[in-house]
């Protein structure tokens, strides 16, 4: 390069202009996600913004270290590309948890390196120190919390809540106070790396302690929250490093994660602190145990052939998918069944509860993978009035989101949670492995209603059987 070009590229103002272009592309790209038609382009536009930000930074700070930077980027690509290419759609929640985790990990490592480079924040403006310490604590919480969430979703750890019971909140409070006290000591000018490391360790334990008590069905809330944490810690890193692209990108992610966390909590009618404090565990399990057998009704079991006939003569069938469909990888079988029914002139709708599955929008992605037209997927508020018009509501691997106890039984741990009104359908068919209660350990009185029929079996093989029987009708 000519000297003129070099001086131009390394001009800080030029770099800032490129950062502005980058974050403008992020915002423009993200606004493309408002519709499935423009979303692919939006995502690619955001990726172009990212490429500009990375290349601009590389060109402006070229002091040696090329080899180290190359090692990092090559390693990251070698891990990231195959992971993104090969992950199954049913495993997306784990994938997102893992990506949240590495982001948080990068944030706290960068803060730590900054601390060491400046010999314990020597001659560093107080505000930079504060933002850097915030990033270190939140990044560490996010890293460890996300890893635990990954472990639970991947079933490396038990999905059930692991909790200290009543003392959990007290312990969490103590850990947070300890981490903040150490951060204050470092900010006050202790220059002590021991204190910094101890602060990271307390934040790490807090990350574990926050997510271990969370049960499977509360996962959508936690994943969204960790997403927000990583975003906010990235924004704080941006302030500490005086980098506008980092600030804007971090805040977009922070806003997105916060919005989703709130949506999920509202959809469960539970406050975010209540979920963090220990999910349905403890009380939920006890209530479930004592409530077992409280419904004296009988369970009607049906065969796939019966269900096939019912579906064949229906006008409107509403499919209610849940986590069980994801576990059984049944989305393609469900789409096949729907196609066969549509060929007979049956109208098909899918009722998607906001917290069905393990992350926001989990069911939508699975059904999109199986080529289900997205305009057949209906949100809870839109589909609920339709159930009374439906001939059959076909519940596939969903449980708590259909439990009428949420409306009728004030003693139920899920009382007040908005549910899908499947019981209003003329006939309800529930595909379920066994009569075991769902995650929350609560008996579902839906199964004992006179208009409910149970088809026991694995979701995938049961749905395939129904499709087979349909051909005979």
């Amino acid at each position: 390069m000519t000297p003129l070009a070099v001086s131009f590229i390394q001009d800080p103002n030029f770099l800032h202009v490129l950062y502005i272009v980058a974050f403008a592309l992020f915002i423009y790209g993200m606004s493309g996600l408002t519709g499935p038609r423009t979303a692919v382009r939006g995502n690619r536009i955001a990726a172009v913004g990212m490429a500009i930000a990375v290349i601009a930074t590389l060109l402006s700070h070229s002091e040696g270290n090329w080899a180290l930077i190359a090692i990092g980027i090559v390693l990251g690509t070698l891990v990231g590309v195959p992971a993104a290419r090969n992950v199954r759609m049913t495993a997306m929640p784990q994938m997102v948890a893992l990506f949240n985790g590495v982001g948080g990990g990068a944030v706290f490592l960068i803060a730590w390196a900054e601390f060491r480079n400046t010999h314990g924040y020597e001659h560093t403006a107080t505000y930079i120190v504060l933002f850097s310490l915030f990033a270190a604590i939140v990044g560490s919480i996010s890293f460890w919390g996300s890893n635990i969430a990954f472990g639970k979703l991947q079933e490396l750890l038990p999905g059930r809540p692991i909790t200290l019971g009543r003392s959990q909140q007290f312990v969490n409070g103590l850990l947070l106070t300890g981490a903040i006290a150490l951060a204050a000591a470092v900010a006050a000018g202790s220059h002590s790396q021991l204190e910094f490391i101890l602060m990271l360790v307390l934040a790490a334990i807090l990350g574990n302690a926050l997510v271990l008590p969370i049960g499977g069905a509360d996962m959508p809330v936690v994943i969204s929250m960790l997403n927000a944490f990583t975003g906010l810690s990235a924004a704080a890193t941006g302030v500490a490093l005086n980098n506008p692209a980092l600030i804007v990108a971090g805040m977009i992610v922070g806003a997105s994660g916060s919005i989703l966390t709130n949506l999920m909590a509202v959809a469960m009618n539970r406050s975010i602190p209540a979920i963090i404090a220990g999910g349905f565990g403890g009380t939920g399990v006890v209530a479930g145990a004592s409530g077992a057998g409280a419904y004296a009704g009988t369970v009607h079991s049906v065969s796939a052939a019966d269900v096939g006939i019912q579906l064949a003569y229906a006008r409107l069938v509403i499919v209610v998918p849940g986590y069980g469909m994801a576990v059984a990888q049944a989305q393609h079988a469900v789409a096949e069944l729907a196609k066969a029914l549509e060929a007979r002139g049956v109208e098909i709708r899918y009722a998607i509860h906001p917290v069905a599955g393990r992350m926001p929008g989990h069911m939508n992605v699975l059904l999109a993978e199986a080529d289900v037209p997205y305009d057949q997927l209906k949100d809870m508020d839109d589909i609920n009035p339709e159930f009374s018009r439906a001939d059959v509501a076909l519940v596939i691997g969903a449980n708590d989101v259909t439990n009428p106890a949420a409306k009728t039984n004030p003693a139920s741990p899920i009382y007040g949670m908005p549910i899908l009104d499947v019981e209003n359908a003329h006939q309800v068919v529930v595909i379920k492995r066994s009569m075991n209660p769902g995650f929350a350990g609560i008996e579902n009185e839906l199964y004992f209603k006179p208009n409910t029929a149970m088809l026991f079996g694995d979701a995938k093989s049961a749905v395939t059987d129904i499709t087979g029987e349909l051909a005979e009708v």
């Binding site: 974050f23 992020f26 915002i27 993200m30 996600l33 408002t34 499935p36 038609r37 692919v40 995502n43 955001a46 990212m50 930074t57 700070h61 270290n65 930077i69 090692i71 990092g72 980027i73 990251g76 690509t77 891990v79 590309v81 993104a84 992950v87 759609m89 997102v96 990506f99 590495v102 982001g103 990990g105 990068a106 490592l109 960068i110 730590w112 390196a113 480079n117 403006a125 969204s224 975003g231 990235a234 924004a235 980098n243 980092l246 804007v248 990108a249 971090g250 805040m251 977009i252 997105s256 994660g257 919005i259 549509e342 926001p360 929008g361 939508n364 992605v365 999109a368 305009d375 997927l377």
Partner: protein, 101 residues
């Protein structure tokens, strides 16, 4: 410097809120993986700090790890989001429903 950065921070928060709240439930999973990719921008932090890391081997090691993490985020996040969104785009409607191709 602080005031400028805080201004950017607050405004970006509001812009983020305005943009993200328009995104429909259907696309919430791609939204999460897309934002995962975007927070991979911490990679820039790693690139900036490594320039000042002096001779400390330990600093270099943790920063290479940070750069690796950031790259996983960016590359993996954008790719997996693209894969998902292609599935949404693929078949907007069946012919019977009229709308779409």
């Amino acid at each position: 410097m602080l005031i400028t950065n805080l201004t950017i921070l607050v405004l970006a928060g509001f812009v983020g809120y305005a943009v993200i709240s328009k995104i429909p439930n259907t696309l919430h999973t791609p939204l999460m993986s897309g934002t995962n990719a975007i927070h991979g921008i911490v990679l820039l932090g790693g690139l900036l700090v490594i320039a000042f890391s002096g001779n400390s081997t330990f600093n270099k090691v943790i920063l290479v790890i940070a750069i690796t993490f950031g790259t996983i985020n960016i590359v993996g996040g954008f790719l997996v989001t693209d894969r998902m969104l292609e599935m949404f785009k693929r078949k907007p409607t069946r012919p019977k429903d009229g709308e779409g191709e």
